[in-house]
Amino acid sequence: MTSFRLEKGGLIDRAASLSFSFDGKGFTGHPGDTLASALIANGVHLMGRSFKYHRPRGVISAGSSEPNALVELREGARQEANTRATMIELYEGLVAKSQNRWPSLAFDVGAINSLAASMFVAGFYYKTFMWPKSFWEKIYEPLIRRAAGLGSAAKEADPDKYEKAYAHGDLLVIGSGPAGLMAALTAARLGARVILADEGTRLGGSLLFENEEIDGKSGLDWANSAIAELASMPNVTLMPRTTVFGWYDGNIFGAVERVNDHVLAPSPYEPRQRYWRVIAKRAVLAVGAEERPIVFGGNDVPGVMLASAMRAYANRYAAAAGKAAVVFTNNDSGYRTARDMRTHGVRVEVIVDSRADSRVEAGGVPVIRGRKIVDVKGGKGVAGIELDDHMHIGCDTVAMSGGWSPIVNLACHRGARPKWDATIAGFVPPDTGESFVAAGSAAGRMLLSECLADGAAKGGGKPSDAPKCRDETYAIKALWWVKESKTKAFVDYQNDVSVKDLPLAAREGYSDIELVKRYTTTGMATDQGKLGNVNAIAILAEATGKTIEQVGTTTFRPYYTPVAFGAFAGPFVGRHFQPTRKTPLSDWAEEQGAVFVETGLWMRSSWFPRADEDWLASATREVLATRSGVGICDVSTLGKIDVQGKDAGAFLDKLYCNTFSTLPVGKARYGLMLREDGIVFDDGTTSRLADDHFLMTTTTANAARVMSHMEFCHQALWPDLDVQYVSVTEQWGQMAVAGPRSRATLQKIVDGVTLNDETVPYMAAKELTILGGIPARLFRISFSGEHAYELAVPADYANMAARALMQAGEEFGIVPYGVEALSIMRIEKGHVAGGELNGTTTAADLGLGKMMSTKKDYIGRMMAMREGLTDANRQCVVGIRPFHRSDRLRSGSHFLKRGDAPSIANDQGYITSVAFSPMLGQWVGLALLANGRARIGEMVKIFDGLRGIHQYGVICEPMHFDRENARLHA
């Protein structure tokens, strides 16, 4: 294979050699190469196939705007799709594959799409795959995905780490070319804390590949000394390989640093990428300008590239794009490529300048003025060109320059639109205020001296602070597309949008630029139209008889370039995705063989199977053992809030619909909390431990919300109340001890108290000690309907207390029971829980209307009085049992009157909670039923269309078991 590596020059380390493979074939390159430059040096231009037509494509750019040379980088778990070969730093052992081709890059069956090009015009997705509708899912979609897909992602989990970090500074400079370096240098010399970020491997921007002269030395030498000076200053942070991808509120910038993308695998102690949030008092946008392609026939043949890219490959990477080049330009900058290539010994056949009257130093290269290229000959490589006067010229590479577009993206991320500047034929950034300003060519300054002076000024100095330099001339006469071209001319390479698609979209009614984007796909996908958009806007302007300003741009949004999901996730993956909350009793529960269930972040013990019991058998046994002897259940997840202060009682009166200020010390009371709109919010028992000291409990699910609600009510509504409160959920382990032998069991571990109805009566809340001095709180409350207690101990004693209870209850056949058994017992007793407190029910709906005080103001009081919330026909809580005793009930099933057909109009309500009652030997449930309390005894139809259930049930009282509450007081 011929080498296209130039003999001298370039910022590559020729002493070292790196092996890599592309599509399974081995190559070598040098440190300092990108994958693209190394392939070019090896004579490889064909790097991919296009999206729709599967046309052979080569590299167009030498930077992050690259639309064509997208590859699958690495293999296995580290495989990364759609990675720009122009941004991949070469490393030893690099493996890359081309995309979107089958069976091979050189011979691709999909290329037949080119022959059916009429099918793939603008809006082809909408036009072609419309009918029949049933074909979508099974035929069209998989077909499109296979044929038109980009690269494929790794199937395995990402093995690498990602980090998140913040950076703060006085000035963030984005881009390290002439303007950026000058701005950073000026600000840093004035003592500002400066952060200089650049997406490139090396700082220096265009100075890394342009032949410039600054301060009497080469542009590169000047850049190197500026960077060295910056690096030596303690107030400067240099961030190469860092793409600033977005500008956000508060002058916050998002950036991603590619810490280890340039090695085969990161060291185990380093991240692959770091996601930065940069908070800067001021920022300078010095990201330069992007060269535009010209739209002409065959402008996508591999070997046709941007003029600046061609000289970047030659000057920076010592890689020649060919042996015989042609330059096609509408502005002065294209001439630099001709001169530089000639200096490197590459033959430059001709400069084709579309302007008839240009006068630019061509360095001895012949110039044809006032002519255009109409076609590029060749398929997988350039064979020659044809001009609009039918002249044919042989060549193997074409450099094109359609002018420069300032890279305005970041300046537009917060909604402002760029402005059109006819002099440079490009959009320039909008005025974004003092805290974010553009400098240099990003601001439309096209001369080096202007860029340096602008950088100095934006860095806080004077324009005259900038060093002297040699300027190239710059002038442009817009040429958006070559109308004389007969062959396919591409506007957007990545999406295969040709010049004909834009007027077609306009003719079909999609003439707004945002619609054109979606209809033709111009400016979509990974490059977001960095190269093609301005050409597309100009072509559309002409097709619709508007000016470019009138057409305007599409919306610029983050991210400037694609950001890996891993970078967003940072370290918060796997078990670090969210915390796991274990209760203080989890060791004990594990010892007892608990099966845990995730409830929010909590791991709750759900049931305690013995041998090969399933959940139902286990829960049934746990219920029977508890109701006949004693059971112990972890209830630590309930929210516990300690409320203290002179006004604690008054505060609780405001929060709850019932009254707590009248609660005697040493007693507990069930409370119901409403939302301000009158709907039930939460419930739980609250105990009074002293005059000015209450202990509230909340449901597990609402613990955090209730806390926040209390803080709001106190701070925003009643700031004068003298009350303090704090969550003590995690400080206490709490267990329910339930069953006829609960008292006898507890008696063995409490210190110095004889438990009876005098010392610990029903609804008592008592502070005492257990096991010889462990502080504890004992509440005689019951959710199970049994004679029961809840025992709370400081969290660190919880396992010990539970183990002691297990031992104490052994003679009574004590069992641990989980949330399943707890739930069965509460349904047997008709106690409402999450299924009924579902954000739609009022206190009255739950049968708790009498709790609503009429003697005080409280949250929700007024709105609960509204007509709709007091309507007798509202759905309220009832019990439900199947008509056939052996039928199983399912929650979510709806009720119909007998004889009614299922319809929303006929809906009578639905089942909210079901359980197999071990005590009754059948399924029972709780339900919400319209006017339910008047319908006890009614037979209803139970309908569940999803499960195909049609059965009958009988409405009953919610309390299914022990309606006299005899067991509670036993």
């Binding site: 949030r277 301000e676 926040s708 925003a716 509504l717 709105m863």
Partner: protein, 95 residues
């Protein structure tokens, strides 16, 4: 976005939880004739373009409820006070 908490200083927006419009004031009467006022307080909200006062809790910080004055069009933060001070000053203004 950064919000300046009166207690903790400028902190990122992720530490805060938004509730909504801080301007409606909770009526003090439970008389049925005040139902309209209650309805306004619970349900009616303006959606202004420009300066807007919102209840925000510094839930990932000191947990204080704040009133943040923000421009809904530009996201500029004009100022932050604690809900306690906001309410007390409004109660004082009324009295």
């Amino acid at each position: 976005m950064l919000i300046k908490c009166p207690h903790c200083g400028a902190r990122p927006v992720e530490e805060y939880t938004f509730l909504g419009d801080a301007r409606p004031q909770r009526p003090t009467s439970n008389d049925p004739s005040t139902m309209e006022q209650w309805f306004d307080y619970v349900y009616l909200r303006d959606n202004p373009k420009g300066r807007f006062d919102e209840y925000v809790q510094h839930s990932g910080g000191c947990r204080a409820w704040l009133v943040v004055s923000r421009n809904t069009a530009t996201h500029e933060i004009h100022g932050t006070v604690t809900a306690r001070d906001w309410t007390k000053s409004r109660q004082g203004a009324k009295a």
